[in-house]
Symmetry: C2
Subunit: 198 residues, 2 copies
DNA sequence: TCCATTTTATGATTAAAATCATAAAACGAG
DNA sequence: CTCGTTTTATGATTTTAATCATAAAATGGA
């Protein structure tokens, strides 16, 4: 996360997106740095039969889409506003200048990429070698640490739909629903009027 | 990749590992920066029934294990020498000092992490939403660009075993063997005395 | 407040890759 | 050169999650 003052110094602009708006598209060449002011953004892929895989979900203060920007490669996924969202947008040249002139920001970027790489490493191993229950629990436990789940008297509220959990773990909705029920029976989760708590 | 001169200036040491030696272990806290001089290193996880998932394979000049180092988190995977390997090892404090005093190195690190994140994004989507043939082909095509596959008169030699391809794509050996045969029949690959060419 | 859409839910069936079994070929350390 | 290990190979069987079908509950916009 880069401070507002610094971004403004390098000529950032604000842009608003409505719910379900496409912010950037798979296959396009990157040209800007994106940082969320408010709202929620998901990056995801669709395969040939329309099945979705969610790469990540991003909130206030988080940036997204940097890897292809640094590599001059096409975006490997789409970015879509999950709800009405405001975003800071900075042209690549300005962004690179900002980095050069502010070395401490580079360290921040490194830490952010490291965090995302760590998540992907954990989930990649989960998705390819573990059963549904393990996958879902790992995602939830990761989410408690890194997505913005709120704690209340019942525990952490996992504010993902069953479909989203499926799209993040590579499982189908029905499988997620059954898996969550099984996890509840084992006492790993609570389901209180359809909402999942951990 | 950080230059030898710079590493030496900050007190790097060399260390040798024999084939199959464990270089670093899942669950341990990182304390050093690792950069390969010669040889080959794989980072991988094992699930409860001993099934392996290979996170990545690294060669000369490449570094590995930085994300947990930057985050002060436990290694999410093991690093093992695939063959006899020499590695530069630099203590974390020295490495961080090197970064602070050489901002251009940060950009290199960023590009490297971006590259690895890009690979993981592509493979994560493949593994969770595509069929075996698509997964294997994507891995091979990525490998041509980023692993060190050599081109000869038959095309690029994919110097991975069927087992390695399985461990990188989340498929079992038998499935990889049958998939590769199917891809050969479709003309996507060549198999010349058991070796795969693309 | 009403209605269309989304989310959660459950049962039956299917398909696809994993598993199991077995073996030949190739490789590599001594 | 030899022998144990690894890699490639193939067929039969099983398992597990996907798929298909259907519906109730909840949500949200008009």
């Amino acid at each position: 996360m880069i401070t507002v003052e610094l971004l403004e110094k390098y000529g950032v602009i604000k842009k608003s997106f409505d719910k379900n708006d496409i912010i950037l598209e798979e296959g396009n060449l990157p040209s800007h740095y994106y940082q969320i002011i408010s709202g929620e953004v998901k990056m995801s892929n669709y395969n040939d039969d329309g099945r979705e895989f969610i790469q990540g979900i991003f909130y206030n203060g988080q940036s997204f889409g940097e890897p292809p920007l640094f590599l001059n490669q096409n975006y490997p996924a789409n970015a879509i506003a999950v709800e009405n969202t405001e975003i800071f947008i900075l042209p690549k040249e300005n962004f690179m200048k900002l980095l050069e002139e502010n070395p401490k920001v580079s360290i921040k970027i490194i830490e952010n990429l490291a965090q995302r790489l760590y998540y992907k490493s954990v989930m990649a191993a989960e998705i390819s070698t573990h059963e549904p229950e393990h996958r879902v629990l790992k995602l939830i436990d990761h989410g408690i640490a890194y997505f913005n789940f709120q704690k209340d008297k019942n525990g952490y509220l996992i504010n993902f739909t069953r479909q989203q959990i499926g799209d993040l773990t590579g499982l189908r909705v029905e499988t997620v629903i059954r898996t969550i029920k099984a996890l509840e029976k084992k006492g790993e989760l609570k389901i209180i009027n359809r909402k999942v708590y951990r």
